[in-house]
Symmetry: C2
Subunit: 680 residues, 2 copies
């Protein structure tokens, strides 16, 4: 089996090397190799027992790894990029996860210089180990509904942190269950009996020496999950715990200890900036997340042979690679195209984010305070400047993470029975990634914010305002041409494909506007339409980003590779168009005939043309075997050897001898499974 | 929170009790209560540590449970039905799983009376504990490609069982890894150097006393999986192991020891009958499988409150039940309708199967032998009698198991963050059910058999043959009317909805036939179309079964309940129609306007009408809390109390105290997690 992949590689003239550089830059690729070498040199990062160990052992190993990583980081003076790469290569959430991200970021972004001194410094040195405790048992998405209170005591200038109900228990908090000794706690600030909304407080929760919970603090791990079991997500309750004035993070708002008055936030846009940044990161990563599954499934389906082709000539006795069956291709190759589409879109988002941050920092002080209404659709961006970017990041986060989640399961299933083994490497990866569809804004709810922004833009265009950005431009273009109608040559012309996606998005926007503004339909009754609208608009942005990236790629890539990338663009766009057919022709962006042709002929043709390059294309993602940790996805194609090795040599259950008879009370005659446990 | 569900129940006049009886019969409901009581009386079935334990502990508990079940079974003289119910209530695969199903069934159906005496009797008494070893590392779906050989030795009248390659290792075999001492091994029969195809052999693999593998037998567990970890799926290799003549199961074929000649199979249809039966069972169960997720999510989304409705009046301060949001309804309520649709379809299938079996046993001997070609689409039913049932079972197995798999994940996600906790009960259930999409015929590949049957039927209709069954009837109806065109009142008339589904299926059949027979396109290039065709035809059958069941339901159910069931029928049918819109209007079964109306108005209206009855409707599935083992799906709605209890009281990780500092080599300062382990 092991030669198959080499043959595949020889048959294709895609230049995987230059494509890798195009995707990740030379510097990024070198960084990855360097970090990989460091990690592989440390025994604690050995992955061979990962799939076998139970939760407690896995958590213990994850803690050992987290410690080692922190040591290496400071020993080697790693940059932030190097640390990110290390996490990606290890591919497992760890007990310092929330300390190193949200805890530090919140202290930095929302703390005053004095608070930086008091909290951020010791946190950077891992003296304080923290978490970000916002969600409660009863409230997650609705942050305004949080029940934990922080009551200002004018007498002794302290806050009392309290959990008045069972549902006010903090819940799901990463790094809290066993590891953290501090928490940023989001609590309802109460001054003089008046609620001022949720604010962040830094609270010590465990003793720095004994690591036991402090008095009146109830804290623990919330138990096993679908994935993420190397992380100790925790719960936390306070029974009237007093904290000093400095505990309230005061960069944007605070309590004046002299007057006992609330000091109003200057601008919350920077906070929303963080959320936008987090979501943009999710978009950027989604391509790579999906690419892991696509790499594994593509390689395995090239190695896997099953059945003869029904129309194969008599003399052709051998079995067929399953990657040659069109029902396998239609599942994997559009996803392969999607990995690039998402990657380019993520890069586009990040660039936009950077540009906006720059512009914003020049404009600081000019923008007004954020208003938050009752519904999630009201969580506005706080500033018009950010509005477009905010909406874009919401829509794309939702689309990209769903696409990755659902695509990974398609990849797993394409591997047939072996896809179900943990050794496939897809299942465990999928299970850990899954919550991305729920956190940082539930994927269904986020779409309300996109719709809200599009409706607002459409109202502005209808009023006759000049387009100020791409969104208003496509809306006003649609308005001008809707009576003439569209005649896009989607099968022949790439820029027409992009225009057809824009047309559909604009059509749905004005349809939704009519329902809301003219027919006065309730917001709730329109949520399903808003979901579709957001999805349509986000698909337009992905298609546009893919298209524009290729426009500028020709200088970096050779002709063959560029040619295949164009085919991948067309496959992504036309396959999506065909999947969403009914919206496309309800909007008259395309004709029924065009859809039929796309489906029966163009897409099938593209599959055939891309097929020979599939292995080379996944190679360009350049995942080291160590990262994939997959029998099915090995670079050398030694699938069966590796499955067999793991099952027979590494599997602790085989150290158990059972007594199989129902009438015997003995279960295990012998159990040497413990001997397989990793030494830490 | 706990009163919410009672309020929901009081608001609806659906009669959950009579609906339960309609679904399961009085006898079935009583049986379930009886078995439940027995199981709850035995400590070994206590579920409280299920979600926490690692694989080895879970396997040990599963073994203890399997033993106890076998004891109870014989002690209480349980019927087969009672045993099935017990397994459903326990809801966990166990180490005797394949022994008690495929091993016993194969011995019974394919053994001679002499073999029954030698193998079946000791197997029934658990002296022999067996498994069904067909799949190999290199071959699963393509059974003809198996590499294990069984070579007939004319000299000493034995067979030599041998595994010539690594890929010939048996793999995935349930109950084999640690438990079985016997296996039914599918091996290529070789007589005088000539291969006769795969045949079943009974082979002892472990010593009956020591339980150690016999000489030249290499056997073990294949390692951890996405789910199914309470089962010891195993691998198995033979190094030239000799077995006596009686080992080859000889009911349908054999080797004559005197002449050393192969004795031809009389008829293989009964074997195919078993496959059809297994698939029909999968269809029947899929409704209940999905209903578990729908029950959990519906109850939780009724209990869960989050945000105010945006259009709620000022004085209405309370938060909204998330089940009131239309984006939650559009995910859950069509799935609720689907649970009933699948259940009725499964019952229909089983009835058809029973009728056919009866007819077949009368016709035995009249039908010819089975022919198996190279591709999966050729695995024909062996007899024309079975052909329709066979195709139906393939198409419906594929549709039903995909619908259940994908629906479960939709339910899990609808629960927001808490859906990700194991305590939701959905994730673990999903993970164990998932392989149903792959085994008993991979869901993608099965569709080729449906297409093949439909093409054959269409050819017969085109030749002018009279319709002999429903399939040919809808095809010939379409042929007669296709020029006139269809004008179905899908929004106003239920039987027209069924007719529209039939029309689309017939349209796609003739389109596929044209591609294959007129345009001579390759089989492989049509697989994607075949997949759609099979899906369309299967959806037609589901809609038809649902419709017909309700036609006859009016005598058993009161007017209100029947009324809601009709709405559920319409919701299932119109939501499906809208999801598959483009096929419906390409075939002219409906107009674009109808689809628009269905989507914007009819479906939304149905959601509103069904919403008040959702909790009562899931109640009618009558899952005991013990079976669901879910915090979110509790009958009494005490969601948060239960989550908190499990996390704080049952969670072994909370018995661990860590040392959190990177520079300290200590990981666990204290570890008392072992104390939580279940006593067996
Ligand atoms: C693995 C994991 C790690 C986490 N880590 C942290 C952490 O470190 N710190 C932290 O603070 N939190 C954390 N969380 C919590 C996470 O942020 C929340 O679970 C997430 O925001 C979802 O909120 P929820 O559970 O309240 O969903 P809910 O709002 O309860 O959603 C339930 C359902 O209702 C729907 N819904 C709710 N409101 C509306 C509406 N207005 N309109 C339409 N539909 C609606 C949703 O779509 C969903 O289907 C974590 C969660 C997970 C799963
Ligand atoms: C949990 C579990 C338990 C099991 N228990 C048992 C057991 O007890 N005994 C036993 O014998 N087996 C068992 N099996 C094996 C199971 O029956 C096979 O895994 C299953 O039949 C799929 O076969 P495969 O893995 O060879 O898939 P493959 O055929 O390798 O499929 C791989 C991919 O190729 C595609 N493909 C393959 N051929 C074609 C074609 N001709 N046309 C189009 N597409 C094609 C498939 O759709 C799939 O996407 C078990 C499997 C699992 C996961």
């Amino acid at each position: 089996s092991s030669e198959v992949l080499e043959q595949e590689r020889n048959k294709s003239n895609v230049n995987a090397d230059s494509l890798s550089t195009f995707l990740f830059t030379k510097e990024g690729r070198d960084r990855k190799q360097r970090v990989l070498k460091t990690l592989q040199g440390e025994k604690v990062f050995d992955k061979s027992q990962n799939y076998f160990a139970g939760r407690i052992d896995r958590f213990e190993t994850a803690l050992a790894r987290a410690k080692k990583l922190a040591q290496i980081h400071s020993r080697e003076s790693w940059t932030q990029e190097e640390r990110v790469v290390a996490n990606e290569l290890i591919s497992e959430p760890g007990p310092y996860g929330l300390h190193e991200s949200m805890f530090l970021i919140t202290l930095r972004d929302q703390g005053t210089p004095e608070q930086h001194e008091k909290f951020l410094r010791p946190a950077e040195q891992y003296k304080y180990i923290g978490c970000y405790a916002q969600t409660e048992l009863g409230h997650g998405s609705n942050v305004r509904g949080l029940e934990t209170t922080a009551t200002w005591n004018p007498d002794d200038k302290t806050f009392t942190i309290h959990s008045p109900t069972l549902t006010s228990s903090k819940w799901w908090i990463g790094s809290l269950g066993r590891t953290a000794n501090h928490a940023v706690v989001m609590a309802q600030l109460i001054i003089n009996g008046k609620g001022m909304g949720p604010h962040p407080f830094v609270v010590q929760i465990r003793d720095l020496q004994t690591h036991q919970p402090l008095e009146n603090v109830y804290v623990g791990d919330i138990g096993p999950k679908f994935g993420y079991n190397t992380m100790d997500n925790g719960y936390l309750l306070f029974n009237k715990v007093k904290v000093p004035h400095i505990s309230m993070l005061a960069k944007f708002s605070g309590v004046d200890p002299k007057t006992n008055q609330y000091v109003k936030p200057a601008s919350a846009s920077l906070v929303f900036g963080t959320l936008t940044w987090v979501r943009s990161t999710i978009v950027l990563q989604s391509g790579g997340v999906l690419a892991r599954g696509v790499t594994i499934a593509t390689r395995y389906c090239a190695v896997r042979h099953q059945f003869q082709d029904r129309d194969a000539p008599e003399w052709h006795k051998g079995e067929n690679q399953v990657l040659n069956y069109t029902t396998v291709q239609i599942r994997l190759l559009p996803l392969l195209a999607t990995t690039f589409a998402l990657h380019f879109t993520g890069k586009g988002m990040m660039a936009l984010y950077g540009a906006n941050q720059k512009k914003m920092s020049q404009d600081v002080g000019k923008v007004g305070g954020a208003q938050r209404g009752a519904g999630p659709e009201e969580t506005n961006a706080g500033s018009d400047l950010l509005a477009d970017l905010h909406a874009t990041s919401c829509g794309l986060k939702s689309l990209a993470s769903f696409t990755a989640v659902e695509g990974l399961e398609v990849c797993r299933r394409a591997c047939g029975g072996h896809g179900y083994s943990s050794f496939s490497g897809i299942g465990p990866w999928y299970a850990d990634y899954l919550p991305t569809a729920t956190w940082e804004g539930d994927n269904y709810m986020l779409t309300q914010q996109v719709a809200r922004y599009l409706l607002k833009s459409a109202r502005s265009v209808l009023k006759g305002n000049e387009p100020t950005n791409d969104t208003t431009a496509i809306l006003s273009n649609f308005l001008q041409k809707q009576d003439t109608g569209a005649a896009f040559d989607v099968l022949g012309n790439d820029s027409d494909v992009v225009a057809a996606f824009a047309w559909r998005s604009a059509f749905l926007t004005f349809a939704a506007l009519k329902h809301r503004d003219e027919q006065k339909r309730s917001w709730n009754s329109l949520l399903v339409d808003f979901y579709r609208l957001s999805r349509a608009h986000s698909q337009y942005m992905v298609v546009k980003n893919f298209y524009e990236t290729l426009q500028s790629a020709s200088t970096d890539l050779d002709v063959e590779t560029t040619g295949i990338m164009h085919k991948l663009f067309r496959l992504y766009a036309l396959h999506t168009l065909e999947q969403e057919a009914s919206e496309f022709y309800t909007s008259s962006a395309v004709t029924v005939r065009q859809i039929e042709l796309a489906r029966i002929s163009t897409v099938m043709k593209l599959l055939e043309e891309i097929r020979p390059h599939a292995v080379k294309l996944v190679d360009s993602w350049e995942f080291p075997d160590w990262q994939l940790d997959s029998s099915l996805g090995r670079y050398d194609g030694k699938v069966y050897e590796d499955m067999f090795y793991r099952a027979s040599e590494l599997n602790p259950l085989n150290k158990v001898t059972v007594d199989p008879y129902p009438d015997s009370p003995t279960l295990f005659k012998q159990n040497d499974a413990g001997a397989m446990k990793a030494k830490l």
